[in-house]
Amino acid sequence: MAEKLYIDALREGLREEMQRDESVFLLGEDIGIYGGAFGVTRGLIDEFGEERVIDTPISEQAIVGMAVGAALSGMRPIAEIMFFDFLTLAMDQLINQGAKIRYMFGGKAKVPMVVRAPMGSGTGAAAQHSQSFPGVFAHFPGLKVVIPSTPYDVKGLIKAAIRDDNPVVFAEHKLLYRVKGEVPDEDYVLPLGKADVKRKGRDITIVAGSIMVIRALEAAKELEKEGIDVEVIDPRTLKPLDMRTIIDSVKKTGRVLIVEDDPMSFGWGAEVAAGIAGSEAFDYLDAPVKRLAGLDIPIPYNPNLERHAVPQVENIVEAVRELLR
C-alpha cells in the first residue's frame, strides 16, 4: 500500500468522485488555478475544467447558498470555505436552509452537498483563522459532521460525504494536511457514523478526534513505557456519533479521557461524556469521566501561547496518569 499525505488522499477522493459522477463539482475561493489556500484542489481545474472547478467571489454566504441551490436541483456540489472560521458567514445558508429543506419538503427534496474547510490552530494564523468548532454544526438537526484524522480515513470519508444525500460539514485540520499514512489505491468508502479503534488497550480509553487522534496515539506510546495500555477511539464523525464503540471500550477499561481540539465549554466532548454517563458503561467507570479540550479563549497569535491553547501530547500523558493514579 502506498504512503500518502492527508492532503493528497483527500484530493484523490475528490478526483475519483468527480470522475465517477458528473454531477459532482467544486466551488470556492481561489480553488481553481491557485488550487486553494492549502493546495487541496491543485490540478483539478486542468482535469475537469472551469465548469466543474469554479472560482467564486469572496462571499461565503454566496458559496454555500449556491451549493444548497445546486444540490436541490440535482447536482452534488462540494464547497470549500478557505478557513473553517469563515463558516459563520454562511450559517443561515447552512443551518436554516441547507439543513432543513429536506425535512420541510417532506423528503421530496434532497440536499446532497459537502462543505469542506480547514480548521484548527498551530499555524500562527491568529484568532480569526485558527478555530475548531465542528461540534457547533453537530448541534443542528439535518447536518452531518465529519472530522477525519488520517489519510486513509479522509479519502474514505470524503467519498462517503459526497455520496450522502444530506449536507455534510467536512472539517479538515490544517496540521493534518502534511501527515502521512497508508492509503490503498482502489476505490473504498468508509461509512459515516462508525468510530474507529485506532489503538487497542485495556487500562484507559481515550476518545479523540481530528488532530487529537495523532496526539493521543503519541501519548499512548509514551505511556506504554510506564506499563499503561491505552485504547484510542476516533469517532471520525461527530454526527452521527457512534456511541456504541465508545461505550464498549469504556466498559472494558473502566476509565475514559476525552480529547478535543474545540474549546471545552459545550463542546462535543460533553456529548460523549454524557453518553457514557447515561449508558450501562456508567457501572464500569472506576474514575470520573475526564475531558481535555481547548481553552475557552480566542486562539492567541503568539506561538507559545497558541500552543497552550489546545491540548498537546504532554497534557494527554499527564491527564492519563492522573486518571490512573
Binding site: G254, F282, D283, Y284, L285, D286, A287, E322, R325
Partner: protein
Amino acid sequence: MAEIVRMPKLGLTMTEGTIVKWLKKEGEEVKQGEPLLEIQTDKVNLEEEAPASGILRKILAPEGSVVAVGQEIAIIGAETEPLPEIGKNTGVEVKQAGVEPERPAPAPPPSEKVKASPAAKRVAREYGIDLKSVTPTGPDGRVVERDVLEYIESRKVKATPVARKIAEEKGVDLSRIGKLEGERITKQDVLEALKLASVEPREEYRVIPWAGMRKIISDKMVKTKAQVPHFYLTLEVDMGKALELREKLAPKIQELNGVKLSINDILIKAAARALVEHPLVNSSAGEEGIVVKNRINIGLAVALDDGLIVPVIRDADKKGLVQISKETAELIKKAREGKLMPDDYLDGTFTISNLGMFDIEEFSAIINAPESAILAVGKIVKKPVVVEDEIVVRPMMKLTLSCDHRVIDGALGAKFLRRIKQLLEDPVEMLL
C-alpha cells in the same frame, strides 16, 4: 514432596463443595487413584480420587465443612517429611490469616457516605459487600474496583461460607475466633464459640442454612420470578389416544430396552415436535436479543428428597420414543442417586414438570431461566366431557405453559400449547 489436595471444580457453576465423608483416616496410606473422599456439590455427590500416593498426613477440612473450589482440603506425603505451610502462595489465600483481621480502622460513622467509583459500587452490589468495610486506595480517598476485589479476596480466606453465614445470623464476630495460621474458621468453630458465649440455647425452631442445592434453587427461583415476566396458559387434553398408544407400545419398548414407556416420554416427544415448529419458544432472552437455540434439549424436573433437579434429554426432536424412554429412565435413576454429572443437567432449552403422580390436577411452574417457557403437567383424571353433544367419560389432563413474555406473546404461547394438545390427542402424527 507432599501433595496438597484441593477442592476440585466439578462443574462450570461450582464455587464450593461440601465434604461429605473422608474415606481415609489421617495417617492411613493412600494410593493414587484410590477413592479419598466424598464431595457434595450443589447438584451431586461424587467420590474424589487421591491425586498422589503416600500417607494421608492431614485432613484440613473436616466432614460437613463447606469449602471453596481450589481451597486445600488435605495433605498427602511421606511419613516423615515436614508438612508444607498451608495458606501461603496458594493463589487462594492471599492475606495472612489468623493475625488481627484487617478492618479499616477507624470505621467511619455509619451515616457517612462512602466515595466509590461506579465500577466499585457495581462489584460491591454483585457480591453484597458493604463499601464502608473496604479500604479505599483511589484518588481522593475513593473506593475503586480493585479495592473491592481485594477485599473480597481477603475475606474469602478466613472462614468457610457456612461458618460465615452462621456467624452472621448469630452475630458471632469471626475475628474473635482464634485459629492457627493458615487455617480457616469452620462451622464447628463458630458453633463452639456460640456455645461458649451464650447461655443454654432454648431453641424453638431450627435453621437449615441456605447451602448446596437448596441455596441454588432459592437463588435461582427468586431471580427468575423477579426478572422474568411470566404469564400462564392452561388447556385440557384428552389423553385417551395417548394412553392407548402407550398401552400398545409399552410391551414392545420394554422388550427392546427393558424400560417402561411413561407418559412423560410421550410428553417429551410431543413437546420436542412442537418446538421444532415453534422455534421461538425454544429460545432465551439474552442481553442483546432473543437467543434462538438450534438444539432442542428437553429437561424433565425430577423431585428429590431434599430438592429438585432437571436432567436433560438432548436433541429430543431427533430421538424416538424407544431412545427417549431409555434415557429418561437412566437420568431419573442417576438423579435419585445423586449421580448426575453436569453434562446430564446443563444446556436445557425447555422444561417439563409433571406433578400428576402427586394428584395435582393443575399448577403453574416457574420458568427454569434462561429458558423461555416451562410446561406444567397435571394428573390424568377421568371426567365427563361433551363430545359431539354427548356426555362421555374421557381421561383428561391439564397442561399449563408458563411463558417469558419478553420472548413469547400470548398468541405464540397458545399456538404452541395447542400444538402439543393436537399431538397428544392424535399421537400417531408424533411418530412420523
